[in-house]
């Protein structure tokens, strides 16, 4: 990872930690939470201050109005992702997976996941999903990891928009990210899709 990316990740982590506590946070506390070398940390704090997202008061950090908004976004992201991974993982692992992905999942996918999260609705199996309307993938239930990896490398994963363009006796043909993919019936049964009316 490049330095600028590491910095961004650290910055976002700082915002999240301060944001979660909703008040001033001691620098020392942040240092116990984020395990990077001190120069990195101080660089990140510096750049956050420059961007007007935080104020530094003595030994502690407080969020500015702008910083609070930003932090809320990040915390939201984190919550959505954590909810996502909690289903199959232990709490700690869900937290960690969310931790990492919040920096990386694209904004579009993130917004979609958020939408799914706030709707609090379960998706239907792709095989039962209506024709010619866009839905969001909410989950992939397959326990076959190799299949899972293949689906992901083809761009089929939670949060992505998907449209069923044909139904055939042996499966469905979907459009996802401008590509047409044919999925076996049994695979289509394992993919959950939610109609969010977009």
């Amino acid at each position: 990872m490049k330095e600028s990316d590491i910095l961004r990740v650290i910055e976002e982590d700082i915002l999240r930690i301060v944001g979660e506590r909703k008040k001033r946070v001691l620098l020392r506390f942040i240092r116990t939470k984020i395990k990077v070398s001190y120069p990195f940390l101080s660089k990140a704090i510096e750049s956050l201050e420059e961007a007007g997202l935080i104020c530094i008061e003595k030994e502690s950090i407080r969020l500015t109005e702008k910083g609070r908004n930003e932090a809320e976004d990040i915390v939201q992201k984190h919550l959505v992702l954590e909810k996502y991974f909690r289903e199959n993982r232990s709490q700690r692992k869900a937290h960690q997976a969310a931790h990492l992905l919040e920096h990386y999942v694209s904004r579009e996918v993130m917004n979609n996941l958020k939408k799914i999260f706030t709707l609090k609705k379960e998706g239907v199996p792709l095989i039962e999903f209506g024709l010619k309307k866009e839905g969001l993938i909410t989950d992939i239930l397959s326990s076959d990891y190799k299949l899972f990896e293949r689906l992901i490398s083809m761009g089929i994963l939670p949060g992505e928009a998907i449209e069923v363009i044909h139904k055939i006796p042996n499966g469905v043909i979907v459009e996802i990210k401008n590509k047409k993919i044919v999925l076996d019936r049994s695979i289509a049964k394992e993919i959950r899709v939610l109609d969010v009316g977009i």
Binding site: Q96, L100, I152
Partner: protein, 629 residues
């Protein structure tokens, strides 16, 4: 001169073959819809003072051990000294290409990204900032268009530029994953492959990489801890994909374009993916193709046989000398080989290549899957099965398009019933000529029934894990004709150099057996079988020695029974002979190919079973018919 080895890697339909064509010319090219070949194609060219060897790999979505294609690519990447990798990415779905890129970077193979279909993406309103992508990943990114040649020289330049040790982008995983990577890294034997990459592959459950761990005990330990944390592999791929789409989003600019009106492709798809019209048009297409091949094949055979005969007539009267016999049978073999090679192999692959490059082949596979699944076969099996109507030998090889060896072997077992052109010649030429065309259709129908019975019994008894349908349907494109030609040529060369000499040898072997009167040795021991078949004892000769060279079966029958077959055999006997000669692994060359693909044991097993099944079925069939009529 320095030898430089460069690997071309990319997803299916991303334009790898066109790029190789643009790089080295049409000499050697193989294009690739998900899996038409798992062979690796190579081509060499000299640039300045460097001899560069390009290696084309099968299209893959990711590095893993899931399919044969992926295994082959993995081998090409790690078992040979690779200087550079060109990763071809589709600009309109960048994040999917980046997934592969990130894996290659994890393997620390110096890579260059060739960004293809840039114009096509722009039409869809997708603009990629390749400079920015280059900055993020810290590897060269070059937009190309193999059809116009744009960017090709830039690509070559950046490939040959001296390697500067640059810190490339690396995916950072979750804390617990990173910890596990570090732990496993310490248990790895010394090797040229980066330890981090091996550790990740191990965590992803790639069994090919277990071998790099220090010893059995550690492998067991790692396996056990993997079953305790089954989601590690998932975490890794999600993070990798997340990183890929994060980068893609950063460098992609979406501008809205006018909504595309329903294009020609959509209209074609609404027919080809239709419940009824889809399979119908697919069947019609294949029938038409096969009709053309059969017609041309016969034409070629007649012409070549005529040529052989006129050549032999110049030898005059020394008809029964062993030399002439050997020559006759040898040349018959060559003639048969050429008349199979040109239409059935070359033209077949030409048609398949066109269908594939246009984008029709994957639609056909989807339609074929509906019916083949009922027989316990995967959709792609229709490619080798259709080729099997031409010649069983290349068809057995073509089973390599299938995902697993089990699927391959099961499909190969169906060549017992799919009559090749030589067997069709027996059915039409012997059975049809001496017993009437109706009789030849009965023979075909019987082998169809035998095949269906076989399919359902095998499906019931042997359960294999079938590859589920998961296939990208590429957009329709104009094919690059020279590409298709080159590919068909390669396929035919294989056949010409191996199969034709063997066909000639088979003929010669028969000539020797025959003149030494060794053929008759078999008549007596095989008498119970001919009795079961209700055939004259002497028919054992064409039935068994046909195995050496199937195209000689007819001539052998004539030579043992005399020219008046219609009086020597009843119509029912002609029918039985046809069935017995059709069902089974047709010839010794097909057996050889089976051995090459599946090993001695399984090849002999299949041949043994198929002979038993064929004889049993033929004997039952004529008894049932004689009771009914």
């Amino acid at each position: 001169m320095k030898n430089f080895k460069i690997l071309l890697i990319g997803q299916p339909n991303v334009g790898k073959s066109s790029l190789l064509n643009a790089l080295v010319g049409p000499k050697v090219v193989v294009s690739n819809y998900p899996g038409t070949t798992v062979e690796i194609t190579q081509a060499e060219k000299v640039f300045d003072d460097k001899k560069v060897e390009f290696v084309d790999t099968p299209g893959i979505y990711s590095i893993s051990d899931r399919s044969e294609e992926e295994k082959v690519t993995e081998k090409a990447l790690f078992q040979e000294e690779v200087d550079r990798a060109i990763i071809i990415a589709d600009a309109s779905s960048l994040e999917r290409g980046l997934y592969l890129v990130l894996q290659i970077l994890e393997a620390e193979i110096p890579a260059v990204i060739a960004l293809n279909f840039v114009e096509e993406a722009q039409k869809k309103g997708i603009k990629i900032d390749s400079q920015n992508l280059e900055n993020i990943l810290n590897i060269p990114v070059i937009p190309i268009n193999p059809l116009t040649g744009k960017g090709i020289s830039d690509l070559i330049d950046s490939l040959l530029r001296t390697k500067e040790e640059a810190e490339v982008f690396r995916v950072e995983y979750d804390d617990h994953v990173e910890k596990a990577i570090n732990e496993i890294s310490c248990l790895i034997k010394a090797t040229s492959i980066p330890k981090r990459f091996i550790a990740i592959r191990v965590l992803e459950g790639d069994e090919d990489f277990y071998g790099y761990l220090e010893d059995e005990r550690i492998i067991e330990e790692v396996k056990r801890s993997l079953t305790e944390h089954p989601r590690v592999a998932e975490d890794i791929s999600i993070t990798r994909y997340g990183t890929a789409s994060f980068i893609a989003e950063k460098v992609t600019q979406i501008v809205s374009v006018e909504a595309e009106r329903e294009g020609l492709g959509e209209r074609i798809d609404s027919v080809l993916l239709h419940n009824i019209w889809g399979p119908f048009t697919t069947g019609l297409f294949l029938l038409a193709i096969f009709g053309i091949l059969l017609y041309l094949g016969n034409l070629m055979q007649d012409f070549l046989m005529g040529l052989t005969e006129s050549l032999l007539s110049t030898f005059g009267t020394a008809e029964h000398s062993i030399i002439v016999m050997i020559l006759v049978q040898g040349l018959t073999g060559v003639a048969a080989g050429i008349s199979i090679a040109l239409p059935y192999v070359f033209l077949f692959y030409l048609f398949m290549g066109l269908l594939e490059d246009i984008g029709l082949l994957s639609r056909f596979i989807v339609n074929a899957e509906r019916f083949l699944k009922k027989l316990g076969l995967p959709g792609k099996a229709f490619i080798p099965l259709a080729l099997g109507l031409g010649c069983t030998v290349p068809a057995i090889r073509a089973t390599r398009v299938l995902m697993s060896e089990k699927e391959q072997f099961r499909t190969a077992s169906f060549f017992v019933f799919v009559p090749c052109s030589s067997r069709i010649a027996i059915i039409m030429g012997i059975v049809g000529f001496y017993g009437g065309i109706r009789l030849s259709f009965y023979v075909l129908a019987t082998s169809l029934v035998a095949g269906l019975v076989w399919a359902f019994v095998v499906k019931k008894v042997v359960h294999i894990k079938m590859e589920r349908l998961l296939l990208e349907l590429p957009p329709y494109r104009r094919p690059l004709i020279k590409n298709v030609f080159a590919k068909s040529w390669i396929r035919m060369q294989d056949f010409v150099y191996i199969v034709i000499p063997l066909l000639a040898l088979g003929g010669i072997a028969y000539a020797i057996f025959d003149t030494l009167r060794l053929t008759e040795v078999l008549v007596k021991p095989l008498a119970p079988i001919t009795a079961w078949l209700g055939l004259p004892k002497l028919t054992a000769i064409p039935l068994t020695f046909g195995f050496l060279q199937k195209d000689l079966t007819g001539a052998m029958l004539l030579s043992v029974l005399g020219n008046e077959i219609s009086s020597a055999l009843t119509p029912l006997q002609i029918y039985t002979f046809g069935v017995a000669a059709t069902i089974g692994i047709p010839c010794v060359i097909a057996l050889g190919m089976l051995v090459a693909e599946f090993g001695f044991k399984r090849a002999l097993f299949l041949v043994g079973i198929s002979i038993g099944y064929g004889v049993l079925f033929a004997g039952l069939a004529w008894r049932i018919i004689s009771v009914l009529f």
